[in-house]
Amino acid sequence: MSRADTRDTASILAARADARSQGDGVSDWMAYLPAARTPYPPAGVDPQLLTWAETVAPGGYTHKVVSRGTRIRLEDVAGDACAHLLVFNALEPWERLNVADTQKIPWQAYLGAGHPLLSGDGRVLATVVADTSGHHDAFCGTSTDLWNLEKYGDAAPHGPSPSGRARLTLAAAKHGLGPGDLPPSVSFFQGLRVEVDGAFTWQGSAGPATYVDLLAELPLVVLVANVPHPLDPRTDYVVGPLRVHAWRSSPSAPDDPHADATPERRRAYLNTVDYAEARGL
């Protein structure tokens, strides 16, 4: 029996009743509203401070505009998530994540706790303030349609193996940003390392239930695609759910240990506070 045989949708009233009867459904991948009612509240966080609670589907994406001082937790529930991240200054989105500066200015290629995610304008967009995984990548970006077509045989956004770039392109479009607004991204929860000759060695996941906390240092447009890392050696499109929670917190202060850790970081946070003060943020 097809679904059409069991549903009464012949009239508008019947169709409306049928539509409304679906509203209390649940999915493994969904946003929880209001965020305070999340079934997975982060330990030690007052639920009333939550502004974002969601589980992102494997192969899915999410996006949000968050205020300065928002703390965003990305959690790899099953150990197979890969969170491809882009952040933009929500007020001037041509200021955005600059991966080269994010690696070069801290003199460190590998992302971890305390690492600033820098824009190309000499400011910190977000800080990695906690990290229980340590398996991340800032070299390889995300997958393209061409990559997924070769690797999985399909890259259609409506198919079984959408690319990270296609996901980020859709997320960006919902904030008025086009394909040309997407710079290289970073990814969390699937790591790699660089050998002496430059070759990448796959590190993969640190296991289930790890998380990364990002602190928004400016108002941000946050785009996240949850798709396999391009160098994931598994031939199948394997990716697990990604949980996202965000709550109101405070931006870094210049004398916070991570902000005062090195001369480069000290000046990066000084620049960021200078911008925020001038804009009245």
Partner: protein
């Protein structure tokens, strides 16, 4: 502060010019063919050209260890442009060498390195700029010229702007990555007259900044000219 303010003839900082005794080797195209273009990029200056599919661009490091910051766009659709992560992921390696395919943000080949006289070319070190200089060297360096200024200036000539600037190549710059993830710009491994040659796989727009940076060794603290040659192979 103990800074002495002196009257200058111009408030525009004058760029550093290489010392008169710098050895300069102008070299020649790395790939044989008819020379279609032969230009010099002055120290500190921006430059651009289009290279048609099949043509080869030779960049000569005339004075040695002079970083040539480089962006590449599809000439017909600038939204498709050079992508560091796609180039690195497809080849599985962090360094650019001969036969590296320079890929776009859609993963497609824009250019291929068909000749290279430096052991390792950089594409992870990004571009210098006034703003990033404040982080790296202090706010007293923000008045200096930078590659970002050059890229913005040259991009504007092609209707492109800040949103079109992404991570770039740095021909003749040396950025090793160590086992613990330490990464940084160190003394160069190029020399006067050394070259790289890249073949266009489709019609491309190439933007170059002859890097003005004077606060690190990427230009050997002595910015020198670059020679740019476009050749059409097989027509010689």
């Amino acid at each position: 502060m103990n800074t002495t303010i002196e009257t200058a003839t111009s408030t525009v900082p004058v760029g550093a010019v290489h010392t008169p005794d710098s050895p300069l080797d102008w070299s020649e195209p790395l790939v044989a063919g008819t020379v279609l273009l032969d230009e010099v990029v002055a120290p500190n200056a921006p430059w651009s050209t289009t290279v048609a599919a099949g043509q080869v661009l030779t960049i000569v490091d005339v004075g040695g260890n002079q970083s040539a910051d480089c962006l590449i766009f599809d000439a017909a659709n600038a939204d498709e442009r050079y992508s560091v992560p796609d180039t690195l992921a497809w080849q599985g390696n962090a360094y650019v060498r001969e036969s590296t395919v320079l890929r776009s943000n859609l993963g497609r080949p824009l250019m291929t390195v068909v000749g290279n006289e430096v052991a390792r070319q950089d594409t992870i070190g990004g571009a210098c700029g006034k703003e990033s200089n404040t982080l790296r060297y202090g706010h007293h360096t923000a008045f200096q010229h930078g590659c970002r200024e050059n890229f913005l200036t040259e991009a504007a000539r092609h209707g492109l702007g800040a949103r079109d600037l992404v991570s770039n190549l740095n021909w003749f710059m040396n950025v090793p990555v160590e086992a613990d993830g330490s990464l940084g710009i160190v003394d160069g491994i190029s020399g006067p007259g050394k070259r790289v040659a890249v073949r266009a796989e489709r019609d491309v727009l190439v933007l170059v900044s002859n890097c003005p940076q004077m606060n690190n060794p990427c230009n050997d603290f002595n910015p020198t000219p670059l020679r740019m040659l476009v050749t059409a192979p097989g027509l010689a």
